[in-house]
């Protein structure tokens, strides 16, 4: 079902996408920020002071500041990263995979269309996993050094959780790219699901139309819950496996539908 050659080729081609370069730049900027702009002092497990861009906050105020600052900073960073990754991958899947000049030739090689589809998907996810894991690992290593070992290794799980969130959204982008021809439309739809519908449905009482809310709650994957779960892991180390299980049916449904559509897709209009 998975062809290693296509997986590696996908990693190579996706890595050359300009948006991946932006993701790398943001990652490096984040690492530099942690290195030079933040200083944290601990005594045992007790936070003594927190210094941000030269402004020092001490004692109980430091603890309160960290509790409000970190979620905001974390939320902002992951949002930007996810925005860029969705941009890169939805564009890659629709523009590069379906319009890749080598695709018609690849489809004349031995192997099934399902293999081409799943290998491309796995290759894209693998590259994003590498990027996210490397970035998380480096952030953890820096924080570990700065806080003299007061950062739990569970933060690495937050990176993995963030990746799961990406995989679900990417599967949706792959499905949309099989039915919608315009790349910009795919991007806007995925963005609407990730940044608007998913958070809205997570706090479903905010929706004034109950019927629409019910319909959408079945159609839209609960990635908003994973966003919250990811933040919980990063900030408090709390892990709720049930949240991840809830997205599995959506992931399977999106991938199966996308693979079937790709299998029957005519590769050229006229």
């Amino acid at each position: 079902m998975i062809n290693r050659t296509i997986v590696l080729q996908t990693v190579y081609e996706l890595f050359l996408q300009p948006v991946i370069l932006f993701v790398t730049i943001i990652g490096v900027a984040l690492l530099l920020f942690i290195t030079f702009a933040i200083d944290v002092q601990f005594q045992g497990d007790v936070l003594l002071s927190f210094q941000l861009l030269g402004v020092m906050i001490e004692g109980i105020q430091a603890k309160m500041f960290v509790e409000s600052f970190l979620p905001a900073a974390y939320g902002m960073t992951t949002s930007i990263l996810m925005f860029l990754l969705i941009l890169a991958c939805s564009f890659f899947f629709s523009s590069e995979m379906l319009k890749n000049p080598l695709l018609p030739i690849v489809l004349t090689k031995p192997g099934r269309r399902f293999t081409v589809f799943f290998s491309t998907f796995v290759g894209s996810c693998f590259l994003v996993l590498l990027l996210v894991f490397t970035l998380t690992l480096m952030i953890w290593a820096l924080l570990y050094t700065k806080t003299e070992g007061n950062v739990s290794g569970i933060i690495l799980l937050a990176g993995l959780s963030f990746w799961v969130e990406f995989v679900v959204i990417f599967a949706l982008a792959a499905l949309l790219s099989m039915v919608v021809e315009h790349t910009a439309a795919i991007f806007i739809l995925v963005m609407a699901v990730y940044f608007y519908l998913a958070p809205l449905l997570t706090s479903s009482s905010d929706i004034s139309l109950p019927l629409l809310s019910n319909v959408l709650s079945y159609l839209v994957p609960p990635v908003g819950k994973i966003t919250m779960a990811t933040r919980d892991i990063a900030l408090s180390g709390a892990l709720d496996p049930g949240v991840y299980l809830s997205v599995v049916p959506y992931l399977l449904l999106f991938l199966t539908a996308a693979a079937l559509l790709f299998h029957h897709k005519e590769l050229s209009s006229r």
Binding site: N3, T5, I6, Q9, E13, L16, N100, P101, L102, P104, I105, V106, L107, T108, K109, P110, G111, R112, E266, L267, S268, S269, R270
Partner: protein, 305 residues
């Protein structure tokens, strides 16, 4: 089994979104291509040539009709790996080198290790790409990209080659190289189907030619049938004869010319010119070209519709 390609009454309709508008790209095309044959499909833009190729490779599906490759339905995919394909306007991802393109597609064809490396070297050498093997495709001219396209199509020793515009964009040396290569492959038993606009190129290598017009295969035949050895002659004279009502002369840059359709009429014309004391500059046989045949059939088909 001698027939490598066999299509029977193939129809293809393209529908726009929600099926509002339908375009008939192919209308009842039946074609057979035997092992070792070079068959060229000719046609104006939009005639259905590329659709035909895509149908043969299962990249698009027929609305009705039957398509067999190597004696089996194209949809069962058993032909995969036995066909080399050069798509129309071939290009590769711009950041890739020829070596990487060939490695990737070679691996997908099942080559590995030393066999793969040797085959890549052989293809680069054969298509004159060795010196640019490590340069990115984005630096290539159209002709070099096309050479790479042909290299990938030949990489896995295919039994059937399907080439969409294989010499369009090549310089004369490149065209001759590809032409000789294709004739050589056909002599070794490789079947070749070519889509081309370059009628003069096709005339040099094809065993049979098909002309597609508005989705119909209006002509299919061998070059000897399509290009009969006619006995037309063109007589060029220094001046137009006076008192002439029988012969039709037209001006040329160097004088006047008249075309006759048999040796007997040529003789009559020459007597006439002698009697008028008109100087004959030249007498040349006129050959029918594939271009003449092409436009004759296209024009006839358009009149019939």
């Amino acid at each position: 089994m001698n027939e490598i390609i066999e299509t029977k009454e193939v129809y293809k309709k393209y529908s726009s979104a929600f099926g509002r508008k339908k375009v008939e790209a192919l209308r009842g095309v039946s074609l057979t291509v035997a092992r070792g044959e070079i068959v060229a499909l000719l046609g104006l833009n939009g005639a259905g040539k590329s659709t035909m190729v895509k149908l043969l490779l299962d990249l698009v599906r027929p609305s009705s009709g039957k398509i067999l490759l190597f004696g089996e339905s194209v949809s069962n995919q058993r032909w995969k790996g036995r066909v080399g394909y050069l798509p129309e306007s071939f290009t590769a991802p711009q950041a890739m080198t020829p070596q990487r393109v060939l490695r990737y597609l070679g691996q997908l064809s099942g080559f590995k290790g030393k066999v793969l490396n040797d085959r890549i070297e052989q293809m680069l050498e054969m298509l004159g790409l060795r010196e640019v093997a490590r340069q990115k495709v984005q630096t290539f001219s159209k002709g070099m990209v096309l050479r790479l396209g042909i290299a990938q199509a030949l990489m896995h020793n295919p039994e059937l080659l399907i080439l969409d515009e294989p010499t369009d964009g090549l310089d004369p040396a490149g065209r001759r190289l590809i032409r000789n290569m294709l004739v050589d492959l056909a002599n070794k038993g490789v079947t070749i189907l070519i889509n081309s606009h370059l009628l003069s190129e096709v005339e040099l290598i094809a065993h049979r030619v098909g002309i597609l017009h508005k989705g119909r295969l209006i002509v299919l035949g061998g070059l000897p049938e399509l290009l009969p050895q006619n006995q037309h002659f063109e007589v060029e004279t220094a001046a137009q004869p006076a008192m002439n009502k029988q012969w039709s002369f037209r001006p040329t840059p160097t004088g006047w010319s008249c075309e006759v359709s048999s040796p007997e009429t040529l003789q009559q014309l020459l007597f006439f010119l002698q009697s008028c004391s008109v100087q004959v500059l030249s007498v040349k046989p006129v050959q029918t070209t594939l271009e003449d045949v092409f436009f004759k059939h296209i024009s006839k088909a358009s009149d019939d519709q």
